[in-house]
């Protein structure tokens, strides 16, 4: 992708980054449904309370919570695959080594779960 030209000193003259064509729906939905100012207006519609049959919407709204459940929360400060993910890889590797008689890198002494 070549460098884009952001010409114009004001927001009045922005060059679109999209190479023609409409924005991807996922990009639009994650903004209009989940961002921007929420006002307790005279008529209040809380999207999180609504049972949405649409799979895509459910996934969008649930994805943050689901990811947190799985220990993935790197977007909350640090882009880092959750500690649970790394630790479980270590555990699997050590179990495989023990089962096959291969010496592990740490001298074979420590069979505990991970380093944390």
């Amino acid at each position: 992708m070549s460098a884009r030209d952001l010409s114009g000193p004001t927001t009045g003259d922005v060059t679109p980054y999209r190479s023609g064509g409409p924005a991807q729906l996922a990009d639009v939905l994650e903004r209009v449904l989940d961002k921007g100012i929420v006002i307790a207006g005279d008529i209040q519609i809380n999207l999180l309370d609504i049972e949405l049959l649409t799979v895509r919407l459910r996934l969008l709204i649930a994805s943050a919570d689901k990811a947190r459940e799985m220990g993935i929360d790197w977007w909350e400060g640090d882009p880092f695959l959750g500690r649970g993910g790394q630790r479980s890889l270590d555990e699997r590797l050590k179990r495989l080594e023990a089962a096959s008689g291969i010496e592990s890198d740490d001298g074979g002494g420590d069979r505990d779960t991970g380093s944390e």
Binding site: M1, S2, A3, R4, D5, L6, S7, P9, T10, T11, G12, D13, V14, P16, Y17, A23, Q24, L25, A26, D27, L29, E30, R31, V32, L33, D34, K35, G36, I37, V38, I39, G41, D42, I43, Q44, I45, L47, I50, L52, T54, R56, L57, L59, L60, S63, A67, W74, W75, E76, P79, F80, L81, L89, D90, R92, L93, L96, E97, S100, I102
Partner: protein
């Protein structure tokens, strides 16, 4: 809930702009967009039937993917149109007021906070950067990068079948572990570099595959606030592309967006100035 007549209209609010701003030409969720000015700020609005947009009836509409896509895109189009003329504070989809007096009272009461937000975002745009990993290309690239993996490959080639099988499993585990580390570092470094090139930055959860329609793994879903006309940010993206291309990592730049990610999620008269 009181019964509604077929002609009762609510006030759908897209966002807030400077009081002197003209209405965007783009059509909204239901026909034309108008401006309701109060003090130094103005709301961009459309009159919408409560038989469709009322709290109860809209639930059924939200379960219709076609309706949702059409209206969500219309909401975004109005805000993008406004953005071309000046700063716009985006409101979330489906913000409605029952009557004009309520809307004007809101603008009058919260005008100071809205003015503050407008000034913070004036002349700036939001850019999105999504980073993707192609695991097949990554696996191929890793074999060259990891001494451990290369050494195991040599051992596998020289080993008897039984031992080779076990070594191959260890090799695959190591490769996966190495890949996870590389991708983690890439996501962290990318967000760091892009944040440094922007005035503000937000890292959002990766979009689930079913929503994004992409097979590749999303490593980063970032939003960045940059001055309109800024060339440094695009250069930062290009630099990251060059650095990670050999690992099959790709960068997708979107925008300019209205600054959805850079306005406070709610306004509270009690909190005062932010």
């Amino acid at each position: 809930m009181e019964a509604r007549t077929a002609t009762e209209l609510g006030w759908y609010v897209y966002g807030v702009v400077d009081a002197g701003a003209a209405a965007p030409q783009e059509g909204g969720v239901e026909g034309d967009v108008a401006v309701v000015a109060e003090g130094s700020v103005a709301a961009l609005v459309s009159r919408v039937p409560l038989t469709v947009y009322g709290e109860e009836p809209v639930r059924a509409r939200l379960e219709d993917p076609g309706w949702l896509e059409e209206k969500a895109r219309a909401h975004e189009a109005v805000l993008e149109g406004a953005l071309r003329a000046g700063p716009v504070v985006p409101f979330r989809f489906l913000t409605l007021y029952r009557d004009e007096d309520e809307l004007r009272a809101f603008l009058a009461a919260r005008g100071g906070e809205l003015r503050d937000v407008l000034e913070r975002i004036r002349g700036k745009v939001e850019l999105g950067v999504k980073v993707f990993a192609d695991r097949a290309r990554l696996a191929a690239g890793l074999a060259q990068e990891s001494d451990e993996v290369r050494e195991l490959d040599a051992a596998i080639a020289a080993a008897a079948p039984g031992k080779a099988y076990l070594l191959r499993r260890r090799r695959d585990e190591l490769a996966k572990e190495h890949a996870a580390r590389v991708l983690r570092d890439c996501a962290r470094a990318s967000h760091g570099r892009l944040s440094a090139a922007a005035e503000a930055a937000v890292s959002n959860p990766p979009q689930p595959r079913e929503l994004s329609g992409r097979d590749a793994q999303m490593l980063l879903n970032g939003a960045y606030l940059v001055p309109a006309g800024d060339a440094g940010f695009a250069a930062a993206v290009a630099g990251l592309e060059d650095e990670y291309r050999h690992l099959g990592v790709t960068f997708e730049l979107t925008g300019p967006w209205p600054p959805y990610n850079f306005v406070p999620p709610g306004l509270s008269a009690d909190e005062g100035r932010r």
